[in-house]
């Protein structure tokens, strides 16, 4: 007969924001009138588990023991939620009631939701939880098989189970076999658009390349139907795939908000927002701590379509996250911080009719009208945009060449160039910084800009080419241009090109 400890101890985890907290779950059973109480600031999902446990036990051939069952989840002062505590609670009851053998001194980690039929299901936030407990010391780590993909991304080692039945073979029959979870890297989406589709729009092509190579925010303006939206898809196609730690970041957030396990893909996320967006949707939910669009775009692209139509408050709100590359949520006095390190890609019409940049005099807007239309995008906001390019409708000749010519693989070349640049930039700065994300400060030395070039740029600044605040912006872009050319130092020619991408000419 198995030993009957008075109290069974197990470990589980719950996610708050992008962090997870390890919890100790204690189950005690004492004789008396049957009761079932869960304590430790638990929400109703956890308290409802009684019903799931009772039914699951029966289906799996166990019994709900009679007596006072008290389950304590600590740290008791933190609010906890989620059905992932079902499995540790069930295990605790089975150990405490002697239905399963608890090896002495064993540290057990378990999570998963139970169905009434005794099967195990994964719960949202698994990637964050598993990443946290990955390096902790446990003798048994048991997770639902449904979380295998998350476990793979998190690099988790343990055993996956599909139903409560399997637990008896683990603890009574010693069939515990640990393995490192693997995941299949998705090959990436097929509907990528090749950059050769932008034939004839050389400035935009170049701007996209520089944007990708230095992680620079970019603004594209042009008439309706000139391929602005397409440019967004193209940009994601020329960014290098996510590396493992980035993948874990992206996947864990995606999995948190989608609930169901999303496919593991190495494509960088592209979050598309439109004029209907609110500040709340950008930041995320203050109560549930579900990430908003900004956090979901981390390591990828935030694609703001029709930017001039946004509410002023939204545009002004965006200034801070673009500067800090971080978004904070406050709940119950705790600060939860999400990284939002993305390329901001804004598109829009340059005026009300949209034809400002078109050939001929198609635009019917008056000068003041155009100013008024664009004044919504405030100056301080534009300071955070490194590159600007205007777009025009693709001419008939180019259009037929695009569709008749073979589907190019120009994007692949661009992507290789971008990858080379990233490597150089990361070696130069360390800490995973790129030209566009490197913090302000001693830019001159860290970006290797000779003083003669600085003088050249100051000269332009004095002539009114750009503002003093735009100065570092120009230097950053010039640095990326130099990187694309494999040049160690920034030269005047690089600055000249960078200047061509400033917003001008309204």
């Amino acid at each position: 007969m198995a030993s009957r400890p008075n109290v069974a101890r197990l470990y589980s985890c719950f996610a708050t924001g992008t962090d997870a907290v390890l919890t100790l779950i204690e189950v005690s059973i004492s004789p008396g009138i049957p009761t079932f109480s869960v304590i430790g600031l638990c929400d109703s999902t956890i308290r409802e588990s009684q019903g799931r446990l009772r039914s699951a036990f029966k289906s799996a051939g166990f019994n709900m023991p009679k007596g006072h069952i008290t389950i304590g989840i600590s740290p008791a002062y933190m609010r906890k939620a989620g059905s992932g505590f079902d499995l540790p609670m069930a295990l605790g009851i089975l150990f405490a009631s002697g239905q399963l053998y608890l090896p002495p001194e064993a540290r057990i980690y378990a999570e998963g939701e139970l169905t009434l039929g005794g099967e195990l299901k994964g719960t949202p936030g698994s990637c964050i939880r598993l990443k946290t407990v990955r390096d902790m010391d446990f003798d048994y780590r048991i997770i639902p098989n449904g979380e295998a993909a998350s476990a793979g991304v998190a690099g988790f080692i343990g055993q996956g189970v599909t139903s409560l039945n399997e637990l008896s073979s683990i603890f009574d029959g010693n069939y515990y076999i640990e393995r490192r979870f693997q995941f299949l890297r998705g090959i990436g989406s097929d509907d990528r658009i090749d950059i050769s589709m932008l034939k004839g729009q050389e400035k935009t092509k170049r701007a996209l390349l520089i944007s990708a190579a230095g992680f620079h925010n970019i603004l594209l303006m042009g008439s309706p139907g000139c391929g602005k939206t397409m440019a967004g898809k193209i940009l994601s196609g020329i960014l290098p795939p996510l590396n493992e730690s980035e993948l874990a970041d992206v996947y864990s957030l995606a999995e948190l908000s989608d609930g169901e396990t999303p496919e593991v893909s190495c494509d960088r996320p592209v979050r598309i927002i439109g004029p209907g967006i609110t500040v709340g949707k950008l930041t995320g939910n203050q109560v549930s701590l579900l990430p908003g669009e900004l956090a979901l775009a981390n390591h990828g692209i935030l694609f703001a379509d029709e930017l001039p139509l946004y509410k002023t408050e939204v545009i002004d709100f965006l200034r801070k996250p673009l500067e800090d590359r971080k978004i904070n949520l406050l709940r119950h006095g705790n600060l939860y911080s999400y990284d939002c390190n993305f390329i901001f890609l804004g598109t829009g019409n340059p005026c009300r009719c949209g034809m400002l940049y078109e050939k001929g005099n198609k635009c019917r807007c008056s000068g003041p009208d155009i100013k008024r239309y664009l004044s919504k995008i405030s100056g301080p906001f534009l300071e955070r945009i490194d590159l600007f390019s205007e777009m025009r409708s693709i001419s008939g000749d180019d259009m037929s060449e695009i569709y008749i010519g073979d589907k190019g693989s120009e994007s692949l070349e661009y992507r290789n160039a971008v990858e080379r640049c990233w490597q150089m930039e990361r070696e130069r700065y360390g800490g995973g910084y790129l030209n566009g994300t490197f913090p302000d400060g001693d830019i001159r030395n860290s970006m290797r800009i000779p003083s003669s070039v600085i003088r050249f740029a100051t000269d332009m600044c004095e002539k009114g080419f750009f503002s003093a605040r735009g100065f570092t912006k120009i230097l950053r872009v010039a640095r990326t241009v130099a990187d694309l050319e494999d040049s160690a130092d920034v030269t005047e020619a690089h600055v000249s090109e960078a200047v061509a991408f400033r917003m001008k000419g309204v």
Binding site: T204, L356, Y357, R392, K463, V481, L484, G505
Partner: protein
């Protein structure tokens, strides 16, 4: 140098063409023979004798004609001397395709005359290569409307530096020459007969005007009267010399339509002045519109078309050089610029310096503002190069950005 002998040889070639059965196609066959280095060797009796002996796969017909030419060699020589003398008397220049200043537009086309006669300001040809030319053709008895439009358009185009090419006939041709002869672009008349042969005789007034201020060109030898069959060939030369063709008024059956179709066949744009459908003498032009001709609503589209043509031409020449509109020296092209151009023509595009490219960019902007993408396309340079150059020009104050396009600041 042997200029005199060259001139004699050129005239000999013309004499052969005019007086023996050796026509254009036959001559092309003959040129296959190794003994002939250039067409000028046709005046060399020894070479001709060699050809008649060593046939080298020439067609029997051709060889027969060469033998016939040998028989009448002296007579043809006399004709050549006569042409040469007439040319000198009338102040005609004999221009050969071996000359450096042979018109560029003809050089790139097949079947254009190897030798032609020119009277007047020959520098117009160089200026035309730089700034473009428009053929203006139409009916000999036009309506007031067409005549008025011809006058306006020719003046506007001429002021832009674009040369007006026409045929010195009555009506539209006459109006076109009259309106453009005093403009910057100048006027060029191509005659069906000899360049000294005033046809129609009543146009003597403008013939004098053009030979003083403009240029008269003919592929026919001096003294030759214009025969009926020469006119279509002349129309082809008009289309070939210019960068686009403006049809001001054309009836359903008209020589003007020949010019238009030659122009289209040479890949040049044809603009047609719209007119009433109940006006019979305009039917040919309206049919052209139906067939896809461009409608002529003003000079803007014509200038666009010509500026495109010039940029492509310049790319072909690969020679930017010092090209500007010449407000100084009475609209004359400074001869040094042309020398620069010719020198640069030998340079491959990748060997051009930044300064060369800058002047090319400025040149592309002279006719109208362009955006960076269009400049990339025109110069076939990558964007990073163009953007750098443009910023430097902007810094110098030569160009500025407006509505997403670059334009000249004219300072």
């Amino acid at each position: 140098m042997g200029n005199a002998s060259n001139q004699y040889n050129d005239c000999f070639y013309i004499a052969v063409k005019m007086n023996t059965g050796i026509d254009y196609r036959c001559f092309a066959d003959l040129m296959e023979h190794k003994a002939l280095r250039t067409y000028r060797d046709i005046a060399d009796k020894e070479i001709l004798e060699r050809i008649s002996k060593e046939e080298m796969g020439l067609r029997q017909n051709t060889v027969g004609k060469v033998r016939k030419l040998l028989d009448s060699f002296g007579e043809v020589g006399r004709k050549a001397k006569e042409y040469s003398k007439l040319a000198e008397q009338n102040g005609l220049r004999v221009v050969s395709c071996l000359d450096v200043d042979y018109p560029y537009n003809w050089r790139v086309l097949g079947g254009m005359p190897k030798v032609f006669f020119a009277k007047g300001r020959y520098s117009l040809i160089d200026q035309m290569t730089l700034h473009g030319a428009a053929a203006v053709v139409g009916s000999r008895n036009p309506s007031k409307y067409s005549q008025y439009a011809t006058d306006r358009m020719c003046r506007e185009l001429g002021e832009k530096g674009i040369a007006i090419v026409s045929g010195m006939a009555y009506g539209i041709d006459r109006q076109a020459h009259l309106s453009s002869v005093d403009t910057k672009g100048g006027t060029i008349a191509i005659l069906a007969g000899g360049a000294d042969n005033i046809y129609p005789p009543a146009n003597k007034d403008i013939y004098d005007l053009i030979s003083a201020k403009g240029l008269i060109i003919s592929e026919m030898p001096p003294g030759q009267t214009p025969l009926r069959q020469y006119f279509p060939s002349r129309n082809r030369l008009i289309a070939g010399l210019s960068d686009c063709t403006l049809v001001m008024e054309a009836g359903a059956v008209s020589g003007t339509l020949h010019t238009a179709s030659y122009s289209a066949a040479q890949g040049k744009e044809v603009f047609v002045l719209p007119n009433s459908i109940y006006y019979e003498n305009a039917m040919g032009g309206l049919k052209l519109l139906e067939d896809g001709g461009n409608i002529l609503l003003g000079t803007d589209n014509v200038i666009d078309s010509i500026s495109r043509a010039i940029i492509y031409k310049r790319m072909g020449l690969a020679c930017p050089g010092e090209i500007r509109f010449h407000d100084d020296c009475n609209g004359e092209v400074r001869s040094s610029d042309i020398a620069v151009l010719r020198e640069l023509a030998k340079v491959r595009p990748e060997e051009l310096t930044d300064d060369n490219w800058k002047s090319l960019l400025l040149d592309a902007l002279t006719l109208k503002p362009l955006c960076a993408d269009e400049l990339c396309k025109a110069t076939m340079l990558p964007f990073y190069k163009v953007s750098g150059l443009l910023t430097e020009l902007e810094l110098k104050g030569s160009v500025c950005q407006e509505k997403g396009k670059y334009s000249l600041t004219f300072v």
